[in-house]
Symmetry: D4
Amino acid sequence: DFAKIDHHRQLRTGFPEVIWSQGKTPEQIIQIMNAMRSQGTPLIMTTRLESDIAEIVSLGVPDLRYYPLAKIGAIGKIEQKYQGKISILTAGTADLPVAQEAAITAELCGFEVERLWDVGVAGIHRLLNHRHIIDNADVLIVVAGMEGALPSVVAGMAPCPVIAVPTSIGYGTSFGGVAPLLTMLNSCATGMGVVNIDNGFGAAMLAGQILRL
Amino acid sequence: DFAKIDHHRQLRTGFPEVIWSQGKTPEQIIQIMNAMRSQGTPLIMTTRLESDIAEIVSLGVPDLRYYPLAKIGAIGKIEQKYQGKISILTAGTADLPVAQEAAITAELCGFEVERLWDVGVAGIHRLLNHRHIIDNADVLIVVAGMEGALPSVVAGMAPCPVIAVPTSIGYGTSFGGVAPLLTMLNSCATGMGVVNIDNGFGAAMLAGQILRL
Amino acid sequence: DFAKIDHHRQLRTGFPEVIWSQGKTPEQIIQIMNAMRSQGTPLIMTTRLESDIAEIVSLGVPDLRYYPLAKIGAIGKIEQKYQGKISILTAGTADLPVAQEAAITAELCGFEVERLWDVGVAGIHRLLNHRHIIDNADVLIVVAGMEGALPSVVAGMAPCPVIAVPTSIGYGTSFGGVAPLLTMLNSCATGMGVVNIDNGFGAAMLAGQILRL
Amino acid sequence: DFAKIDHHRQLRTGFPEVIWSQGKTPEQIIQIMNAMRSQGTPLIMTTRLESDIAEIVSLGVPDLRYYPLAKIGAIGKIEQKYQGKISILTAGTADLPVAQEAAITAELCGFEVERLWDVGVAGIHRLLNHRHIIDNADVLIVVAGMEGALPSVVAGMAPCPVIAVPTSIGYGTSFGGVAPLLTMLNSCATGMGVVNIDNGFGAAMLAGQILRL
Amino acid sequence: DFAKIDHHRQLRTGFPEVIWSQGKTPEQIIQIMNAMRSQGTPLIMTTRLESDIAEIVSLGVPDLRYYPLAKIGAIGKIEQKYQGKISILTAGTADLPVAQEAAITAELCGFEVERLWDVGVAGIHRLLNHRHIIDNADVLIVVAGMEGALPSVVAGMAPCPVIAVPTSIGYGTSFGGVAPLLTMLNSCATGMGVVNIDNGFGAAMLAGQILRL
Amino acid sequence: DFAKIDHHRQLRTGFPEVIWSQGKTPEQIIQIMNAMRSQGTPLIMTTRLESDIAEIVSLGVPDLRYYPLAKIGAIGKIEQKYQGKISILTAGTADLPVAQEAAITAELCGFEVERLWDVGVAGIHRLLNHRHIIDNADVLIVVAGMEGALPSVVAGMAPCPVIAVPTSIGYGTSFGGVAPLLTMLNSCATGMGVVNIDNGFGAAMLAGQILRL
Amino acid sequence: DFAKIDHHRQLRTGFPEVIWSQGKTPEQIIQIMNAMRSQGTPLIMTTRLESDIAEIVSLGVPDLRYYPLAKIGAIGKIEQKYQGKISILTAGTADLPVAQEAAITAELCGFEVERLWDVGVAGIHRLLNHRHIIDNADVLIVVAGMEGALPSVVAGMAPCPVIAVPTSIGYGTSFGGVAPLLTMLNSCATGMGVVNIDNGFGAAMLAGQILRL
Amino acid sequence: DFAKIDHHRQLRTGFPEVIWSQGKTPEQIIQIMNAMRSQGTPLIMTTRLESDIAEIVSLGVPDLRYYPLAKIGAIGKIEQKYQGKISILTAGTADLPVAQEAAITAELCGFEVERLWDVGVAGIHRLLNHRHIIDNADVLIVVAGMEGALPSVVAGMAPCPVIAVPTSIGYGTSFGGVAPLLTMLNSCATGMGVVNIDNGFGAAMLAGQILRL
Ligand SMILES: Nc1ncnc2c1ncn2[C@@H]1O[C@H](COP(=O)(O)O)[C@@H](O)[C@H]1O
Ligand SMILES: Nc1ncnc2c1ncn2[C@@H]1O[C@H](COP(=O)(O)O)[C@@H](O)[C@H]1O
Ligand SMILES: Nc1ncnc2c1ncn2[C@@H]1O[C@H](COP(=O)(O)O)[C@@H](O)[C@H]1O
Ligand SMILES: Nc1ncnc2c1ncn2[C@@H]1O[C@H](COP(=O)(O)O)[C@@H](O)[C@H]1O
Ligand SMILES: [Mg+2]
Ligand SMILES: [Mg+2]
Ligand SMILES: [Mg+2]
Ligand SMILES: [Mg+2]
Ligand SMILES: [Mg+2]
Ligand SMILES: [Mg+2]
Ligand SMILES: [Mg+2]
Ligand SMILES: [Mg+2]
């Protein structure tokens, strides 16, 4: 009663509802997962699941797989295979957790994922050395904290849509990710859409919608 | 010398560079347009062109077409035809200038456009009455000011990517479009990417990249 | 001496003063509760009472009832029965603590409460399926975090006043509830009043004033 | 086609849709008014109508009544009479335009209005001298700019709901009305709901919903 | 060497330098205190001293007196007696720590202090019942969190300077004290000066300067 | 009726009510001035009076004196003479209008004023060359825009209260005076109170209250 | 008397005081210029001088040279020649006014200037094509609006200090230059210092100090 | 693979890449350090390394030197000696950690460092007593929290570039260092560049670039 699971979402939008763990008790998560399972949902997935909560949830959901870097818990997988791949880039090493949230989400939803980490603009040759990845991409997710300049440079080179993900990595005037968010919203390069700070999950879902077309 | 036109952009990204009129003199705009014309650029387009500036530019660019609501000036058109269409929705009548900037940009770039105006959430039946437009969309651009709630509702129903465009329409705590921008970035519906406030042009370019796939 | 209890408030405004626990020591809370009891206050209630503080307060106030989800402590109840009921909706499961603060407050003050949880706009059919609740409401409290779009949709359908409560549920650009607050203040639907972020208590008090008319 | 008028709104919510003039051309306003008239809407009303636009609209809508201080244009009136009255207070003289927007809206919708201007807290005796107005109110609209403290004091005395309206009157750190808005949202008095900065219209509509109960 | 104590400050400004504990190690505090003692400073005082740090400092400064509510540590006292008294008011019980920081500072500097707690505007009669305190004040310090309206009401009644101190008491849109700060800066009452959020110490020092005249 | 003049204010607080011109019509200003005159108010003063409005007001108030730099209009003067003087400093030449608003207000209220312009911290010797002014001050008003550092330096040297007035002079990150306001609120020098941005009037009123003691 | 010209500044810091025109009357500017001339100041320069004010100033200062794009007025020039040059880059054509303020300031102060306009990151090859300019620079001023990513890329390549200048060019979430300012402050490239939004003058003065070493 | 170390950075910009510890696991830091060592990088340095992480890193990097106040870990040192020295000033004792981050970075990079602590503007004579340090500086780093006024005063006296570093030391409206940041960006003194809040490392790198010229 505390949750009205949206069992039709996969029919309407192509992907099932995903459980956002923040603000839920382990008991609530277990009950929602089991309710979805009994409806035959192929992929039951929860995001932002801290490892200590994951352990408690596992007691009620023994087949739960847990991805610690991405903080995702999952049962099942979408078996359908889509054309094209999702290429995910990060500016720095510290952006990995967000990038992995995107990558695991995409893989669980049935997409092929290509990863390229730590190619931020302070050493632009690192990106130029991997130009073929951009040239051959179908859809790009570009994850960056601090000044968040990487998506602009990539979108200026890419022949495909770019999804920009600001991260909360930084300090001082990064304001928990506001600095890279503004950078991305004000990009003078085109073909870019922005998602919320640290929202790797949302970036993967948008990329998935694009490739499903 | 004051401008280094990016003549390769169409090759790299599929669409030619577009001239942003703000902060440029009419003389600069004329010179850039003529330089692009002499390179054979098929579509030469300038955005945010106020009508009084457009008149001066017309003196140096006699075949300039001017779209007053969208504040776009253009020469030529991209003749290639793409599969699929771009469906554009607005929450209110006052959001039309931004929506038209998206629509004209898309049409000039060779895309088919479908328009649905004034279906904001204060009378949700207006949207539900046009459900078939959402169900059959290939890519959606949803334009909204004030509280900007329309893209969330649409993305919860749509089987395709949604591009959300906040507008500066509103007053008081709308803060020139910050309120709808935050609404869109925090959406609990998935499959949505956000562009800058009033950036109808950017929304069309992202939609174009998606349909070019 | 550290507190001047407002013993006339019930006379003036219909409801007794309520103790806000934050920033008070357990000893102060106990003393205030006992002072109010000795004045014959029918309902002595304290909000935002953490469970560990509640335990200490219980030592000095043995008949204290504690509501853990709502973080309310109470002695007594207002016996008067009012006409009409207060209908409380939430957008998500994570908004429950705020909604329960409103619900318990309302019930302790003598009102009938109707609850409808997790009917956010990402799956709008969930709300439409419960349309009769809106159609038959006397006063509505609508609680939502993240983008906070639910009150707008509800106010566009409701024949009665809507009290909108933004919650701090969300992350990144939700800015601790600022995003849904702005959504609610900028609503293009009418008949809505807004209270502070997470202020379920205040929403109930306003609903109570409305039904007392 | 540029507007989907919500002809059912009066049925659903008790009051017809109202036209927001900002961002609309005079021609659009005329067309919408005439379309509503042909549907038999009893009160056709437009807010935030500047006097120069009102003159142009009058050419196409000869029976338009214009209220310059409130910036409202109207045809017709709701004839139904409701029980109770709406009492409107301002802190200063400069808050009058917002207070009048509320007062005229309420009167056009069929409500009796009581006005009390310039009783701000810098001279608290002015308010105390009119205590009977507060004691006998059914619903109060309290309009204040600058520090916006008046609603708190009133809500602490009133036996009925208080609707607080912050205004953009002030300078420096008033930030166009943000200062009084925050004051009102953080009030330690209860029974208060807040609307957007300068939103006299919205305050009247909420007061109307409350009295319709 | 890590500190250049300002031994002349008492000569220049009437009061000795005071040690701000935040960001200093206990060892640094001990060394500064002992250096000041060896210069014969009559009052050696440190603010924002957490109780655990105070205990360590006591090991090196055995005659340290610690005031836990005010978080002040002190050696000695200014013996000079000034004319007039400093009257300190709070809006709520939760504002006590800040008010006590002001009160203890003032008393250590040689001033007489009068205290009036919990007379906030939600029950304005509590203030009016103590009107004689305002009427007979020499200088007033008014401490308030949440909406911070008390100083405006007091300054409208007082025949003397009012020092307004916003506190971080509140939640949601109080933004750690920004809401009451803005209230105080935008006051339409005159004769008021504002200090930083939670800065009881600074308020006392300003009051002291005023009474020293 | 649109204004409830606070005729007792001089009795309560020592100074009569002053008319804030912003948001008032010339007719309203004339009526209020004449009403105050008929009550025998010795000084009738209005601030923020633009020169074009002043001319219209003069038609109804022929003996109005207008001070264009300070934007003050006045009739009469407070004849009482107070002990001590008010010393007013500015950081730059561009801060003069605000400083003059303070100076004229103070002189009209009966105080002696000493002026020292353009002694900002970028050339600190300019201030040090006038050290005697600080050393002999009774109360100081220090006006500064841009980074607003002057009050901190002055308060570190002064044997009396310092009233800090931030101005909106600056550009970019000065944010209309927010930068100097924050500088002043965070001063590590003591004995300072802050007023609203550009509020020369309020600074003078506070200085007046201090000298009246 | 309204201005205390800092005649020693050139001695102390190497460059004379410069007159900031904003907030000064033409008469004040004329008087300050003439006072500086009578002291033998070699370069008398004023910034942010609008063309209509410049014309009035010319009446009192007939040998004033006016640079309209840079909005600088000047008499004389610093004849000393310094080693090294100042290289100035812009991201777009619209950033020219700010870049020219820097360039003209630098040239008037005796420095050689190299200009490279419109090499923003949306077409990164434009920058890479001019790599030799970066490789051979002594000090770089990089001017950018919108997302302001250019300085990060340049600082990652440059063997010398980079001065980053955010401009107010942009719209929506650029917030008048805040977006590029944050980008520059959060840069993960090193060797960069930032100045105020649109402060081309300040960038040139810092570059000058660096080359004077 | 999670890190693409920029081994050419020293060649391009004069200094090797530095490892930012935040958001990295100890294992990642160890691997990056060892990879850099195997490339022969002369100085391998990591910033913002908490002491507990440093201990774990030491297990894999036994010759790691740890500087606890500066939170820097390092192997090796740049042996080249540069002309000139870097003079570092702080306003208060609490700014030491940031100043030490700058000092240690500079020394590890081969520069001579001069330190002057606790000379903030509240006791300006402390700075004036050390005037020779400013007069003889080659490049100055000025570190200040709270109101951050020190760099303005220093830049008005100094014959060399000033690098201003705002710190997060303060409370209330210091907003984690935003107040001193704004002070520094709006300085009316010239020859100053600003870095991110608490970015002592970045200040040293900029100073290094300046002295390398
Ligand atoms: N990491 C995430 N970020 C944003 N939205 C999410 C995330 N994970 C799940 N959601 C969405 O949040 C909604 C569930 O909210 P709730 O009802 O509170 O579980 C679903 O519509 C999901 O699509
Ligand atoms: N002054 C106003 N403030 C806020 N909302 C308004 C105002 N006037 C009309 N509205 C609402 O704005 C909506 C109309 O928006 P639009 O479709 O752009 O005309 C209607 O739902 C009205 O209820
Ligand atoms: N465009 C500018 N931006 C920032 N500061 C400036 C500018 N032009 C001049 N200044 C400085 O502003 C100060 C002059 O301020 P004022 O006394 O008001 O003329 C001088 O110290 C100049 O160095
Ligand atoms: N304390 C610091 N503040 C800002 N940037 C830093 C700091 N320490 C290292 N860096 C830079 O951060 C980048 C490394 O980021 P990452 O790839 O995440 O290790 C390098 O370009 C360094 O120059
Ligand atoms: Mg890296
Ligand atoms: Mg509409
Ligand atoms: Mg849910
Ligand atoms: Mg008044
Ligand atoms: Mg209380
Ligand atoms: Mg000056
Ligand atoms: Mg360009
Ligand atoms: Mg110190």
